[in-house]
Symmetry: C2
């Protein structure tokens, strides 16, 4: 972090003040052409060429969704944006912009917030979306709220409710890596770095969402709670059953190695691990799947429910925030 007006490394957000900090984190950010009016006014103005705008919001809380002793502030900022943009992609839309609200203790080091916003800006840049506004306020616990906007480019949104019996179930992106990383971190380890970074730093395949929509996807969801949990949502909303074929799932050597080291079943991470932000979708059976999409199951009649290799899966399949 260089060149910020916010001052020295020992500064706290209280000493720099709200307006100083907002100036520090919004200075010198480049904006894509969709940002018609950027940060600094009462509100921003973003292009919505489709005449509709897709919108999604997520709240991330320190100690619940991230830990600053496990992740750098930049990784946290990256993740806060990535989880939101994945929701936009899961509608088949192209993300255009994000706004970021931060609540943090007055004695929070300014450098933590500016680095966090560097992560936000870096991920926004990687996805070519504008960081168009935000808010900074005082609280006891660091909380980050991100709202993302996107454009459908004339296509209908791909909802959770369009899957039909006979459709292909497919995924794009990693599954189980973040859960393996969490298991590693929870045991006090910092490696293997591949799975640990997957937990700190999800890389949702944004472009795969609009590509799936173009290919005729009948339903789609962001895998945030775990593959089975999210396919469960999709099956419920569509009024169908879904069978997952485990021989189609890409467990891979990295997860197998970590599973062996920790005495855990890597397939369980793939089926139930959240926070990878892969995309899962259904397509008509004759579809040539777009690049990166892998067929992993079949849509069935509703009375079959959600099954794995034809049988109910007998472990906990997801999580809820307060339970």
């Amino acid at each position: 972090m260089t060149g910020h007006a916010a001052g020295g490394a020992g500064d706290t957000v209280a000493s720099v003040g709200e307006f100083g900090l907002i100036r520090a984190v919004t200075a010198n950010r480049t904006q894509p052409s969709t940002t018609l009016l950027g940060p600094g006014d009462d509100a921003a103005v973003v292009a919505a060429p489709d005449g509709r705008v897709v919108v999604s919001t997520d709240v991330l809380v320190h100690g619940v969704h991230f830990r600053l002793d496990w992740s750098t502030p930049e990784q946290v900022g990256h993740k806060a944006v990535a989880v939101n943009l994945a929701d936009i992609a899961a509608m088949g839309a192209v993300p255009t912009s994000v706004v970021v609200g931060i609540a943090c203790p007055p004695d929070q080091k300014t450098a933590v917030i500016t680095e966090l916003m560097d992560g936000v800006a870096a991920e926004a840049g990687r996805a070519r979306v504008g960081l168009v506004g935000g808010d900074m306020v005082r609280s006891e616990q660091l909380v980050i709220s991100v709202t993302a906007l996107g454009d459908l480019g004339g296509r209908p949104p791909v909802t959770r409710s369009g899957a039909r019996p006979g459709d292909i179930v497919a995924v794009c992106g990693r599954l189980g890596w973040a859960a393996a990383g969490l298991a590693v971190l929870g045991r006090g380890f910092r490696s293997p770095v591949g799975v640990v970074n997957a937990q700190r730093f999800p890389e949702p395949p944004y472009a795969a969402g609009p590509a799936a929509a173009l290919a005729g996807a009948t339903s789609m969801i962001d895998v945030s709670d775990g593959l089975l949990a999210d396919l469960g949502h999709l099956a419920e909303e569509s009024g169908v059953g879904i069978d997952v074929h485990t021989d189609r799932l890409d467990v891979g050597r990295k997860l197998t190695d970590v599973g062996t080291a920790l005495g855990a079943d890597p397939l369980h991470w793939v089926l139930t691990g959240g926070e990878d932000h892969a995309l899962a979708a259904t397509f008509p059976s004759f579809t040539d799947l777009p690049e990166g999409w892998l067929r992993i199951g079949t849509v069935l009649l509703p009375d079959t429910g959600l099954t794995v290799d034809g049988k109910p899966y007998e472990h906990e399949s997801g999580w809820e925030h307060w339970r």
Copy 2:
């Protein structure tokens, strides 16, 4: 609050769970025609007929921006939406939708959250905007983040930077009422109810924003930090001076009475009190001001700075969240 699936009065958010609570607060909400796809999917879809979308976000923290011993949960939900929609109106746009993120302790009573969301929905309904999505997560302190979207209807946005020397300065909406209410509450009183409710329950004049834009407003701002503080932002962004004429300000008998009772100067509340969410704007000098707008000052050359009756105002003029 009746008819929610969330269950009995003693339920906590932990016992009802994230998905149960989301179902409870989104059930049976009517949506305006701008809501093309409402809550329940990865993201919502909102009409943006202008081809641009206006977006603003605010974060409200318990103990900082509201207190549940001073306000009902419904009033808090109302306020969280109102402060955001005021930002949209201050661009000259018509609000179309809001998304709401809530972080709260697991032992929070479900009824508090459902009542808070009733307040959110009531204010959204009053402003004819859709409550199109949200997030609910666990935290130590109740935090509400709201992001609002709006439509410019083909007009250019009214920014903070367009004021020109010779312009009229005008306001629409109450000033000083919320500050008077805060002073009353801070002394342990609960009345007069007019000013106390102004603190709990701001009523920004949403329609006055687009009306000002249509009338040719050269700059506009939401008065959230206090009249002088926000006119200071406007003067700085526009590179002009501003003189406020106190004989034009509507102090009114209610504020005078409260000032007398508390030994405070009501004019100081009008000049510096935040949280009323009136709108302040500048107009070319020949403008017939739209209904509800009151001329209160003049735009001057930049070297005069911000003055009150031609002199610098010698009290603290606003506040920052961490200072």
